[in-house]
Symmetry: none
């Protein structure tokens, strides 16, 4: 279209083009495991980091990551989705250990890293503290992406996700206080700092709850699926911005609103079908944003700068691992004593090694004011450490879980599901064979042979299934769940077919509502 663009219009177009390019690369990466089977061992998000690194290595820079992009655009939907899916009753049970890790754990880490850097790398205290603060919060995005792909037991992932969702608040307060110290604009004072922290978290929780419960009661008054879906999106971004505007922790605000809407609002205000659609929508959005974020993290790496700061990176890394070990094992023991939380050593080991750092650390490092001399050093160190945690720790967490026998009953269930699928597939083959019985196009003997073969296989699989069930009694519950889902899927498929072929209008929502709830 021969319409001359003005500057702002050229900017809109350019950003759009850039993001489409990033997405195209990411989606290509997502199909890699379909082509090369060995790639299947690597989680999608880490694969993206690796491909991003490759692009950075040949100096192809896709988009410049800025703190605002990470914090205002990418973080809110990811946090909201995580909180939406977090079960309050699980989190509540582990509130004490999660709080200990999220508050004291961060403080131990900031101090530990700073002392090590100051002692062994002769880095000034102010800079050392800033590096420590940037790296002391585990990253909700990376941790959740990893743990979901690994399929660990629920308890462990609740602990890990809970800590990651809440520890940013502490890290950010520490960081902004320390920036003030480094710039000489503020002074350290214990009582003031605690008050500041209280206000920071309090505003987040307060505004988040207000918006969350407000929307919950509002949506109870009407049944407009599209409006309710939009409201979840508005609440995620809106809460973040409002809380930040008021000087609170946007991260904690979003997590709160997500928890409230996911555990309360979606139950009282949404019909089950809307809840399902909204959950699927957020699953898509988080896949979408993750696809962008992790590719860009890899793509931001400046290899020369990393090489110049290799010593600092190594020292920081060791200090970080060491202080996290202290924090996790000591606070875990404390929690076990205090509330009998019963977190065993194997679980603690995973919490220690699985505590990845990621986008939040990068956003904090990038937001160090340009007037601070040590800015480049801080950024390089943080990127180096983040890269190590993502690639080395990220890729070895699964083997660690295997060694510690913490992968949960995922594999049993997986095997069970595979057996069920195989039986269904072979049953269909058998039906097909029997259908053609009265007039097969092939010779009778071959046909008989094939039938016998399939029947034999089905029998074997059935034995296998029976065995699994008698060995793992909880598969009974699982089977029921599966069965119900199967019935729902058949129903949904039928509707989809009707809609596709034009026999049914698209507006299914109100009508499906009673269908999908009617069965239970």
């Amino acid at each position: 279209m021969s319409i001359e663009p003005t500057t702002s219009e050229a900017l809109i177009k350019q950003s759009l083009e850039r993001f489409l390019l990033v997405l195209t690369v990411s989606l290509s990466v997502a199909t890699l495991p379909q082509i090369f089977s060995w790639v299947r061992q690597i989680p999608y998000t880490l694969l993206l980091v690796i491909v991003g690194l490759g692009l950075a290595f040949v100096d192809v820079r896709l988009v410049n990551l800025s703190p605002a992009l990470i914090l205002s655009i990418f973080l809110p939907p990811l946090l909201f989705e995580a909180a939406w899916n977090l079960q309050w009753k699980d989190l509540k049970r582990d509130l004490v250990p999660v709080s200990l890790y999220a508050i004291l754990g961060v403080l131990i880490s900031v101090l530990g890293i700073a002392i090590a850097l100051n002692q062994f790398a002769a880095i000034p205290v102010a800079t050392a503290l800033l590096i420590g603060a940037s790296l002391s919060a585990t990253d909700p995005i990376s941790v959740i992406a990893l743990f979901r792909e690994l399929g660990v037991e629920k308890r462990l992932s609740t602990l890990m996700e809970g800590e990651s969702l809440f520890n940013d608040g502490v890290a950010v307060v520490a960081f902004s206080l320390l920036v003030g110290l480094a710039l000489g604009t503020s002074q350290f004072e214990v009582r003031g700092t605690i008050a500041q922290f209280g206000a920071f978290v309090g505003i987040g929780v307060g505004i988040g709850s207000l918006i969350g419960f407000g929307i919950s009661y509002l949506t109870q008054r009407f049944d407009l699926p599209l409006v309710e879906q939009s409201l979840t999106l508005v609440s995620a971004y809106g809460t973040y911005l409002i809380v930040e505007e008021l000087g609170g922790s946007g991260v904690i605000g979003v997590v709160t609103v997500g928890l409230v809407l996911g555990n309360f609002g979606s139950r009282i205000g949404m019909n089950p079908r809307t809840r399902l659609i909204v959950t699927e929508f957020w699953e898509f959005l988080s896949f979408f944003v993750n696809s962008i974020v992790f590719l860009l993290i890899g793509d931001q790496i400046q290899f020369a700068s990393l090489a110049r700061n290799l010593d600092t990176i190594a020292i920081t890394l060791l200090a970080m691992l060491f202080t996290r070990a202290i924090a996790i094992y000591a606070l875990g023991a404390l929690s076990n004593v205090l509330v009998k939380s019963d977190i065993n050593l194997r679980q603690q080991t995973v919490l220690w090694w699985g505590g990845l750092r990621g986008s939040v650390s990068i956003a904090l490092a990038l937001s160090v004011p340009i007037i601070l001399e040590a800015r480049e050093e801080i950024i390089a160190t943080v990127f180096g450490v983040v890269l190590f945690t993502l690639l080395v720790q990220g890729l070895t967490t699964k083997p660690l879980l295997k060694v510690l026998n913490l992968l949960g009953d995922q594999t049993v269930r997986q095997n069970y599901l595979e057996a069920i699928a195989r039986r269904a597939a072979l049953q269909r083959v058998l039906n097909h064979l029997k259908e053609g019985q009265d007039g097969p196009d092939i010779d009778w003997e071959f046909y008989r042979y094939q039938t016998a073969l399939v029947e034999g296989q089905i029998k074997d699989i059935q034995n296998n299934i029976n065995q699994m069930r008698s060995k793992e009694p909880e598969l009974q519950d699982f089977a029921r769940e599966q069965f119900k889902e199967e019935l729902l899927a058949i129903e949904a498929d039928t509707y989809a077919e009707f809609v596709r072929s034009g026999r049914l209008n698209r507006d299914l929502a109100p009508f499906l509502q009673d269908v999908l709830t009617g069965g239970d």
Copy 2:
């Protein structure tokens, strides 16, 4: 968070805040019909325009609409969604009248409006032609939004949507040619103009098909729902940008890719569940974008400027309505003679009065170069006419449909179809339950309970269907039609399955012909 923003970061945050504000207003508007029942008569999109006008009246300006925002951000998803849901076999049947309206109809309108403005308002030819070109294409967004809410018969909405989706190509070519004339940078030449138009449309259709079929075959090779969902989004925006970059019609490109993916790609490449999720996702996205667009259209109005140009607006409006009457009735008659398309006078009357102008006209007017003196006059006139079509024509189309008896028995048929779909879905569930009878993986009681539940539901629905049939005898005919479509759908799905599993060669053209046109 006390991180100082740089300029670009402040910009990101500000844009985000603005759009959240717009959305919050729009969502509040969406809940109005729940509170005031008289509001229910007004379609959501028109309600948004009215509220936007109210805000403009008290001089609250939310976001400045720019052509780039309309064309690059809002238009692609709305066009894609419309095309994704448009049935190719319906469109094909009416290809001749749709083409006549979309090509000749636009030309008649441009000339008619220009002559009237020049004769009766003494407006220079160049300016008059620009106003004519801006206002000669019916707006896909407004028209589709309105016709969907009204629930007219299928034939009429296919004609209306088809025309609106394709006539922008002609209008935009005419407009950019005329801008060149007005600026004195180009000259009019018939052969060159036709070649330009051919290239403009050809590039759109070509690139759109290439991307559409490319993605269709690609997604056939894997089953990754989230990736496939993302690909539809990437293809909508990507096609628009690429086609525009190559000098083609982005609008036609997006419509083509949407048609291909909706009618072909989603059948051969997606499993039914993915198809359903993707359709729901686009429904949401289009609701979301519509919520923004229509509020902003109302909010852009400059009342003083409108008042200054009231004469011009009135003359343009009359000319527009008059030339559209000529175009619709004459071309309708022509089409009825040429291909026996059998579009009756009542339908033509709705096509005439329902041809709303909207966002595309506004985008074109806003893109008039600032150096042209008449820019303000053009913008004011276009906004004035758009407002009239949206509010007056938009609000009176439903009464018109009622008077002409064209609202169809939509609700009866819809209920009937829903009942049929439910019965089919539950019947399949029942079959599935009975298949597993000889060796269910779940306990007997649970199984019996589920079976009884489903059987009871089927019985209720069957009673309901019987009742409807005896009350509305014409459902008998309708049912026969449906039955034929059902058989065609089974055929088409079987082909699609064969193609998907690789048992059928992907000989595109003849195969597509068969599947997509069915037996007629």
